[in-house]
Symmetry: C2
Subunit: 393 residues, 2 copies
Amino acid sequence: IGAINDDDVGDELGSPWAQEPKRHALLKPASKRPFNAEPPIGMLADKFYTPNELFYVRNHLPVPSINPDEYELELVVELSNAQSNRTFNLDDIQKMPKHTVTAAIMCGGNRRSEMTRIKPVKGLSWGPGAVGNAKWSGARLCDVLQAQGVQPDERLHVIFEGADLDPTAHPYGASIPLSKALDPRGDVVLAYEMNDQPLSRDHGYPIRAIVPGTVGARNVKWLTRIVVTDSESDSHWQQNDYKGFSPSTDWDTVDFSLAQAIQAMPVTSAICTPMPEERVKVDKDGCITVRGYAWSGGGRRIERVDLTSDAGKTWHVAQLEQENLPDGRHYGWSLWTARLPISADQQKEQHMEIWAKAVDSSYNVQPEAFENIWNLRGVLANAYHKVKVKLSQ
Amino acid sequence: IGAINDDDVGDELGSPWAQEPKRHALLKPASKRPFNAEPPIGMLADKFYTPNELFYVRNHLPVPSINPDEYELELVVELSNAQSNRTFNLDDIQKMPKHTVTAAIMCGGNRRSEMTRIKPVKGLSWGPGAVGNAKWSGARLCDVLQAQGVQPDERLHVIFEGADLDPTAHPYGASIPLSKALDPRGDVVLAYEMNDQPLSRDHGYPIRAIVPGTVGARNVKWLTRIVVTDSESDSHWQQNDYKGFSPSTDWDTVDFSLAQAIQAMPVTSAICTPMPEERVKVDKDGCITVRGYAWSGGGRRIERVDLTSDAGKTWHVAQLEQENLPDGRHYGWSLWTARLPISADQQKEQHMEIWAKAVDSSYNVQPEAFENIWNLRGVLANAYHKVKVKLSQ
Ligand SMILES: [Mo]
Ligand SMILES: [Mo]
């Protein structure tokens, strides 16, 4: 990937970068080739459904250009005693029962820039904006698989391949357990719509796998091939990336085969407003208003978000805006608002640090700091979000 | 409960305490009436399956005495348009297909005594031994419910009632979502065997609900009634206990209706050997051996356990002993062993603190300390386990 991420690659006709789509001017690139960008953090909590054009973009390779009339999605089912193949075109998928699910998609490296401050890591320097929340519509993968006669089997995996190719013409790939794909409560969708609009090219046109509750990297865009088989994807991104390690594991000692590929993500939250170093006015009731998002993987609902402006001496519970969906199937994010009382002493100080921590429906909670969750790839950066602001009366 | 937990209640014939079973001498009582006790922490990691007689006992009320020939289990299905009732005897349950699941059961208050050191809480002073791991066998609840025609419905709950009665003759009760009960991967069992032996009276003879991955309180013992209905159990233990709150919520401000009843438990671990203040010999390779358990709720496998003897400067990954079961269905605990190198400087110090933290398959991690997860009931006490030991050469 390093080689591709080179900004001086030409984009003359025939270059893999010649057909990149136009992007919204507010998206801040973490890298341009492949294009990776997040929206301004201050806008992220404005809307429960992130506007499509401001949704973070995480591309691993050049964006493919797909003619919808020629689009084909191949499904291969490899069982020990039999193999079946079937090819769908776009119309086949769109004729199936349409299922809609609200799901936040989060990059495994979201908030990496905070972890990097402890010690450098390998990876794009994401702020807390490598996440977005959308309504995704398409055919349910469980319906597609059941129609092909696929039965539950704990040993099997579902591999997704995209139309995006690396320089050796290998596609982007990732996999999930078959149990997730077959579970009706798993809500895995072959999505052709994002917030009621056809997918844009940056988000996987014409079809993207949406695996709610699961790290962004498994939500494969420009989906061209699905394989049900007895091993995980052999792709770089499944095998040698997107895994967590102990803080003492370094590039000399790491053995990627010893860690499990990230699937469900841990609980996290971020303060969207005020932004770092922003000057905040204390209102007439002596409070400031803080707003942000919280999310947990695996369909776990956010139970509570706690805020403190005095390093944990007093905690204030935020109001949550979230869908009324049951635990285990709550895939959207929660937006939250808290009013924090600011003491007279704090107002004299002028500087103040706000901390946010979320608790999910399993009562898992964010870790306090990055030191003890640091890992060499800078993924899973879910420590308390801490934002320093300036106060004014 | 307070009133019942009174040690000077007489146990003359006719007293509800007259028929308490005999207990193993090594079980350390946290309270005698009702009987609550845990095994010595130093023995807990000796065996992957906790011996039945050393398995922690968490009783909320006196132990009922049930004649197996007269035992009846009532199943009530209350749907909006219909109600059905069916009664099973012990033989009916034992004739159904037998399903075995390994599951750790953990009290919601496990490790409460560590949280209490920050600030007092209401609850029994459990050490880290209010957990055990066993093989449970019985009829699958999903089979029982499907035979009664129960269909998936996200709004429904399954209420369990025990034969143990409070002084007003109300039974112990708790509930779980129907989605957990109906999911074949949920592995909920109406168990009549624990580690291949009939349940003992302290563990729910003749039948106990085993809800793998879910806090002990929902694993109702002496099961006499199951109700499928559109609300949670109205019991004290479901409504006004076993819930988590912010550290700043106190008994004057708490509103139990605002928090969700604990179901799946968060990731945790404990060091079993060495024990606190134990004198530990550094071996010829300059190491000490540390052993313990780790577990996470919701069927989440333990991914990794990290140990440090220098407050996080260096972390050492433990070897895991665990079943080879898929994520989401991995209900047993993991035992672990780590060899920690002890530096020459540490050996001079004579005192040392060891920390353990576990990471589960969602890459959720234990919080570092109790200050910011303190709650007025002292539940969910899953911060790093920290044990001070003395060193000898
Ligand atoms: Mo990602
Ligand atoms: Mo408990």
